[in-house]
Amino acid sequence: MTKSSNPDGFTFKLWKFFASVKLSVFILLSLAMTSIIGTVIPQNENPMLYQQKFGEALFKILNTLDIFDMYHSWWFRFLLFMLTVNIIVCSINRLQATWKIIFPKQPSFKINQFRKAKNRQEWSAADSPEQLKDVISPLLSKRFSRLTVQSSENGYILFGEKGRWTRLGVYAVHLSIIFMVTGGLIGSIFGFDGFVNIPEGESADKIFLRNSQSEIRLGFEIKCDDFDFTLYESGMPKEYRSSLSIIKNNQSVVQKDIIVNDPLRFEGINFFQSSYGKMPATKLTVTFTEKSSGLIYNKAATMGSPVEMPGNSGTLIVEDFRPSFSFRGVNLTNTFLCRMIPNNGEPSHIIIPADYPRFDMMRQGDFVISISNTDFKYYTGLQVTKDPGVPLVYAGFLFMIIGCYVTFFMFHQKICVEISADKGKTTVMTAGISGKNRPGMNTVIRRLSNHLKKITQ
């Protein structure tokens, strides 16, 4: 690949730059160090909080550097990109040589390499080289996938070899990283991460994205038939369960109970049990009790729209609902937050706890207001995601584990047993070499020699 290029050319220099392991170690350590930033500075919070914490000037600098969303910043992505190019270039660079080792035209053994090996062992044996060869070669062929027997000037040389393919392990590891990075990219481009809250008995056909205000239409309806949660005796949550159905073209096509750790998947979209909450029915009844007369006025209301107060005294808007609300250290439970706009006077905020209809007496107004007919419902909070990159990422996971195992714990072994006779004395020599000077090779030779010594001495 590189041989034909001009050694001074820019392309060649660039190629060499990306083919260096120094670069990989540099990138790996840079990724490690920069990743720490995001664990120290909480990510994706409200900009106001950052401004308060860091001050205006520092905030601006950090914001320009995307520190508050650093894992999606251009420079972090650039590091990942460099990593990928580095791995690809290195792999291409080396694959040719590795390929030649794995699939050689003619396997060749150089006896001198073995004679020089540090793990070499030698001992003298009683039998003739001929006899020894016949004993040893079946033994070796059991342990090594290839065995070559050659005769030399004064005896025999046996070469055994196995595990050539294990040199590919490293490529599997590196390929796995490319798979994961690519899978992640595909997910971030073609996938989404959103949520939807569905009250019991109701359905939704669109969901909301988590990191922006936009909505996504599902192309089908998701209905919450039922929501339940159970607690342990200690009050800790035990199970959240939503019964969901998917309705497509007015027909229920799938039904499933989901719990945390067991989502519903449909047409590439996944629904996860993520939260739950309580909300009041859309139609409420607001009750005004006139203090002076004791007269009771019931009015229908919906959240967010104004209600005329009796006697033309003003309007009331039920603005919000809280399943729990702390008032002077007491939890009032189901509480409505309202705004009252009197015809003469300043608007004010008032709180109406549904479970304490007489609470509003404290306010000293002309009317005591309470809200009933609340008909609370649970809604289930679903996380909705789509990530077409997952299969690629999972393939990467598999390659990573297999590749690491092969690279670390298996290796290409070449061994040699030389049997030679000199003045009627037979000597047996064993030695082994492997791609990298592996201590594992020494163990193989030690064990093999011990075994052979037992049967030859």
Binding site: L28, S35, N261, V390, F409
Partner: protein
């Protein structure tokens, strides 16, 4: 006997083994070393028994689950994996000396687990933890951590051993050859790296089951990635650039600090994973 009684007894035995290993090393006696190894075997077996018993106890309470669900249980498991890795090396490589650096770790871990601030009550599993991936995830991570812990111990030995022939007396000189230490560090790092990878991957698959995303840059996830990247750099520096000895020992120490931070330090930061 209850599991907590067993855990107090084995804490004591781990401590005893540690004292005996150090004694055997300082006074150059073989016998205490042998007894220490026997004690470690006994303690590791007791450790396993305790874990199984705690498992059974959780079923008797009607909230049965594998005891790998909170800080206390993870510490107990960690102590056992370190002891087992240590014994594996002791027998496989015939390196008794390793006990001097390996045996304090399970003792310290068990002692830490018995502090009152570490809650040892068997708690039911919250919904997010009710997954079979929990077991493989926690096991793989802690097997990885224990290999890194031993690599760390060996690296420390490497760093305190004086080089040069002049200082060949005293207990320091009884540290084995640099080559042996260097090779052992490398072996342990490779072993740990494989299991850390499996741990991170099973965690990612689990996160995808429970929350619909395999990676969310939560502090614990990120720190495990940082740890992984540090050890990956170590392996490349060694395999490709031929780094050996001191530099590798230093990197292995840095890697282990990252492990410790992933395990404990992250609880100081916000996130899903903090054991509380």
């Amino acid at each position: 006997m209850t599991s907590s009684e067993i855990f107090s007894i084995i804490t004591f035995i781990y401590g005893l083994a540690m004292v005996l290993y150090v004694f055997s090393w300082i006074f150059k006696k073989a016998l205490p070393g042998k007894i220490a190894t026997a004690a470690t075997i006994a303690a590791a077996l007791g450790n396993l028994t305790g874990i199984i018993l705690r498992w059974i106890e959780s079923y008797q309470m009607g909230i049965g689950h594998a005891p790998l669900s909170n800080l206390y249980e993870s510490l107990i498991f960690f102590a056992m994996t370190i002891a087992l890795t240590h014994l594996f090396i002791d027998f496989r490589y015939k390196l008794r000396f390793i006990g001097v650096v390996a045996s304090p770790i399970p003792f310290l871990v068990m002692a830490y687990a018995s502090l009152p601030k570490v809650d040892d009550v068997i708690q039911p599993l919250i919904p997010a933890l009710q997954s079979n991936w929990l077991i493989s995830h926690v096991m793989a991570c802690f097997i990885g951590y224990s290999a890194f812990a031993i690599a760390f111990g060996v690296s420390i030995m490497f760093l305190i051993k004086p080089s040069g022939a002049g200082s060949q007396s005293g207990i320091i000189s009884r540290i084995p050859d640099f080559d042996i230490l260097d090779d052992l560090t490398h072996q342990m790092v490779m072993f740990g790296f494989l299991f850390l990878s499996i741990g991170i991957i099973t965690g990612a698959v689990w996160a995808n089951q429970a929350w619909g995303r395999y990676w969310g840059w939560d502090p614990k996830e990120t720190w495990s990635l940082v740890t992984w990247l540090i050890y990956a750099s170590l392996l490349h520096a060694r395999l490709m650039r031929g780094w050996k000895g001191k530099k590798i020992a230093v990197l292995s120490c840095i890697g282990f600090f990252a492990v410790i931070f992933t395990y404990f330090g992250v609880n100081l930061l916000p996130g899903l994973h903090s054991y509380q």
